[in-house]
């Protein structure tokens, strides 16, 4: 299985990553792509700043990917997570899950995102329109509940 995990400050190109994953493959029948974007929260934010734990971020996403590969018959899995300052409208995270059939691809992409949000060591801080640094984003209980459905 083609597993690719990258942690980077630079933007990514979801279409190019999709082309990389499917290049030369005739066995993939379903590919689900999830892109998480930076929201401006009703015009309140100028940017989000993402801090991460280098080394552990890669290792933890790799462990989550390994779990997904055990649960679903995946043919490809790509995860790219950005760090640093990200403006509204820019992408933060990409998950591509490929399989022979759609259900595995949908479920694996959803599983990856639920675990990324609660287990991958990244932290968001808000930068506000008035030029000040706002608060660290608080973890949501709904995200913890989302993970429980896979247990």
């Amino acid at each position: 299985m083609a597993r690719m995990i990258r942690i980077q400050a630079e933007p990514f190109d979801a279409a190019a990553e999709t082309a990389n994953l499917t290049a030369g493959r005739g066995d993939i029948g379903a590919l689900v792509a999830f892109t998480g974007l930076c929201r401006d929260e009703g015009g309140r934010l100028t940017a989000l700043e993402l801090e991460h734990y280098p080394g552990m971020a890669e290792a933890e996403i790799d462990r989550i990917a390994e779990q997904a590969e055990k649960r679903w018959p995946l043919l490809g899995l790509t995860v790219i997570h950005r760090f640093g300052r990200i403006s509204p409208g820019e992408e933060i995270v990409l998950v591509l899950a490929a399989s022979a059939h759609r259900r595995a691809a949908f479920e694996a992409a959803s599983f990856m995102m639920d675990y990324l949000k609660t287990q991958a060591p990244f932290w968001k801080r808000e930068h506000l329109k008035d030029g000040t640094s706002g608060a660290w984003v608080e973890a949501k209980e709904a995200d913890d509940r989302a993970v429980e459905r896979w247990v």
Binding site: L50, H52, Y53
Partner: protein, 83 residues
Amino acid sequence: MKLVYFAWVRERVGKTDEEVDLPEGIGTVADLVRWLKGRGEEYEYAFENEGIVRAAINHVHVKPEAPIAGAREIAFFPPMTGG
């Protein structure tokens, strides 16, 4: 042993990382937190709600009761908000 801190735990402690020599009798992550809280009010503040702060040993999530023997690097951080 190296300790590393992230996000608001890092800001409250006032440093990104440090080397510490632990006294005898500190066997678990919870013991380490208790010892850190005795080192000053910045640690007291960072760990004021112990149930909130998460820990990892050598890049793997652990619970407070996890033994720390042999750890190279122990990290403390708030609940994660990536994705």
